[in-house]
Subunit: 123 residues, 2 copies
């Protein structure tokens, strides 16, 4: 499978889980994982899930516009994935643009999120 | 220097060079560097500079909104840097939003760009 297909499969799963069963994202992070959410730095799967499940919105829907991927280091399966899209929150009809960068590290035949940087792009 | 300061210094230099002397960006890439520009995949410093210097605009100005950084691997100086901002092109008065993700790899006491993913966010 080429890396763009892997990236697409990952983002499909990630956002579907985020939008329907946010706790399930715990499968994708480890103790060494990092999330920067709107500039706030958070370390480790437990703190990350605590943050993501306490965001001040109930219903959320991600609409992905672009997904780009590159191998992050020579001779490994690790990937940088850069995403742009729109977030629809609760019953607000104005989608908010967002950018998210992931670094996926291969482990046990799969991937986990080592780096995650999320920004809403207001205005 | 903390990683956010390094990332800020890098992006200041990168965009100043891009906006005033685009050929000078050759200093920041190597033969193994990758650029994905609006979905087009480009490999190596020569092809990257060829692409960046042949973009269909003369004057360009980047206005950075946010810069976030994380270490990309344990026990190395390598960094993931995620940028959002606006691009002003030629005499167009409508800035275009963009997102850019860099992976900076340490080498010879400095950094070079291993991964570079750029997207304009129209609409």
């Amino acid at each position: 499978m080429d890396i763009n297909a892997i990236a697409r499969k990952f983002t499909d799963f990630y956002y579907q889980t985020f939008d329907t069963e946010r706790h399930g994202l715990a499968l994708l992070y480890k103790d060494e994982s990092m999330l920067t959410w709107e500039g706030q730095q958070i370390l480790g799967v437990n703190a990350i899930i605590q943050k993501l499940t306490s965001l001040p919105f109930g219903k959320v829907q991600h609409q992905v516009s672009t997904v780009d991927a590159q191998p992050s280091v020579p001779n490994t399966a690790n990937l940088i994935v850069s995403v742009t899209g729109f977030l629809l929150v609760d019953d607000d009809s104005n989608p908010i643009r967002y950018s998210q960068a992931f670094h996926l590290v291969s482990s046990d035949g799969g991937y986990y999120v080592y780096n995650d940087i999320f920004r809403l792009n207001y205005g």
